[in-house]
Symmetry: D3
């Protein structure tokens, strides 16, 4: 079920640059770590680094009703996706804020990821710039409602 | 990072009912199979059973530009999620058709999952019923556009 | 304004089974009966069976500002659509939960239809499975927010 | 299941102002016409007046796969909703164009309703004004894509 | 970067019909007023006429976190877009209500623009008619949630 | 209509740095310069730098049907918003790609902004990373459809 790579995708992270199962010497699938434990450890570390307590609280609250879903957030969302090389954490958080602002129906997640943006070194003004830009692509109401969330996060952060 | 289960969630699949690493005797995380190979095998089997060639073609086409993403579809979407017990395949496909019809911006995926619905034993009329119902929840345009996709799938299936 | 039926849609009710005027006494396909009163009675019965008090409260609250709209919910949404044969009630409720979870902007309706799913015999875990599956098709935020609604419904149901 | 009307809703059409079964003198349900034939006739007339051939073609095409759905468009969408008094046809079409432009995933319906707007007397520039305004509320991409549809309709109308 | 006008767009406001810098006699850019002060003045006037205090409060609240964004609302949204000739204010507000109802994720803005609709002379029933119509194009949940907002606005307006 | 600045937003340009009238010669914050000509020039330059021919073609095509809208794209979207300091161009393009991928109904604009991302120095893999990340926040279908657009852009760029 393999097909040729596009030549122009020259900068797909090579196996040597990606943490993986030490016993795996096959270079064709650099990011798929064969052991769940690795995904779990990488996911927990990434979740903590990006969202800090706020994200862990969300995951923890989900354990009563959907424990496997809580694990997916750790293993897949943070272990497989957010921990990937090839894009810096600041860009990943700003891209997430752009998407959640545009979707406009995920305020709780927007709050967590604005906190996450500050945690990985984004300046408040960079967060604001991304939200303002969404007025062009998703309309003014989406941007206004995201600014309301951002203000609350900033006020708590400085309260 | 554990919290108590809700008592009413009495029917969360117990470890004994879920295929998992035979060496894993800990019942706290029934669905997380520790070996990537298991997720891969379960994902490939589930992908084939539900989508047949159409889904495999989608995954295969993604390998050139995003090989890891292609693996996520197999390992996560089909290995972790769609393969779960607790809901029959027919209900899963009808729920997917409902969501893609309501979202209205995922025609290619709607096509794949209508094929998938027929593959797992849904009758054409059941697919149509779900789409018609979406007129109430997502509006008539969403339902009309999904019916257009369904017609094409049915005509090919019978062509 | 008729066009030929698609041959493959073998289970689409044929015109001969469509009671289309008051002299037609065939009761097998009630949903296109010509009398508004029938739609009303069928709608009220279906609304009560699926949503119980919660749905009736919603309809009742709408009477002050939009009495005709309240009637449409009864006559069209429940009398014409949700009462249709061809798909069982459990599948209809799970499809509705899938759509409302994916849309992500209809929490009050999601609440009513999770209650409705339990009313027609869906198990809490089946509702959860549909919501978890939406993480694949509509993203994790949509699923997380729907799980929050589901927890509240389940806690009230068991409280 | 009745609740008091809001006093300020003084202009809800009263039974005497709404076309209904001449034999029905009960004022409690002004818009629910008791005879399907009345909804059907009113719906067909309204569909023809607003969308002309383009809408009838859409309905006709749906008859093969979902004949009841085709009837709902006539009876509910046009017979119950679009035929209502209390808002002029031009405003209804412009509101529909606004919504379909903002949703951004219903191009075929947008086309039909731009044609409909011209049919009921809207000037091309009024259609354009509504679409331009959506740049503020739904973003520039939504407006750009709707303008593309509008241009095609206008060119055909003048071709 | 000019291209020919479509002949059928005969009613694009010509320079002479559009308020602009009196010193500007060049007809090539009818709507672009060259002086920011004109956009500002026109925007503030239009914002006040349409939204009254409610809109000014929104803009004012935005000044602490995004002062330029607050200016964009005045200069672009109201000075450039909402102040345009070619469509009456009532139609503009009803189109905005249609879009915000259909989007379903902008309740605060829907509130402001329902107030705005009443301010520019729309009757409560016209607002309700537009919202009811959205049940056809965006589904019943979107319409129900918008009716809830409308009721609150109407009750305050008459309280 | 001013309100106090939030103290924590330390990098929001202070009023003294806002050139607000023609006599202000401080060039550090061009985006609120009072002269339309400046917005026009800045917008055209930014549009050309980011989107190159692809964006200019879009704007040019809009001139026949909505010349003022074409100007808004130049003056507002690029002159006021995209030209702002406070966020680098690469981050702005990646945020735009995230939003358009998540919205899922703006393929033509996604194409233009993937081209734009490459024009301002983003690597193809960075574009892919943002799109893959959207699988978490907007679902796999949104990511799959955006990857299809990205592949076409990359193939043309390297073809």
């Amino acid at each position: 079920m393999k097909s040729q790579r596009l030549d122009f995708v020259t900068d797909v992270p090579t196996p040597t640059t990606f943490p993986r199962d030490p016993h795996d010497t096959d270079g064709t699938r650099p990011e798929v770590v064969s052991y769940g434990d690795d995904r779990r450890a990488r996911g927990l570390r990434t979740l903590a680094e990006i969202t800090g307590e706020s994200g862990e609280r969300v995951v923890d609250r989900l354990r009563d009703i959907a424990p496997d879903f809580a694990d997916w957030i750790i293993d897949f969302s943070y272990g497989d996706v957010m921990a990937r090389p090839g894009l810096d954490r600041r860009s990943r958080q700003l891209a997430t804020i752009a998407a959640l602002t545009a979707l406009g129906n995920a305020q709780p997640q927007l709050r967590v990821h604005i906190v996450g943006a500050l945690n990985v070194g984004c300046r408040p003004q960079e967060v604001i710039e991304v939200i303002l830009q969404m007025a062009v692509f998703a309309g003014f109401p989406a941007a206004i409602n995201a600014l309301t969330v951002a203000r609350e996060v900033f006020e708590q952060a400085t309260g």
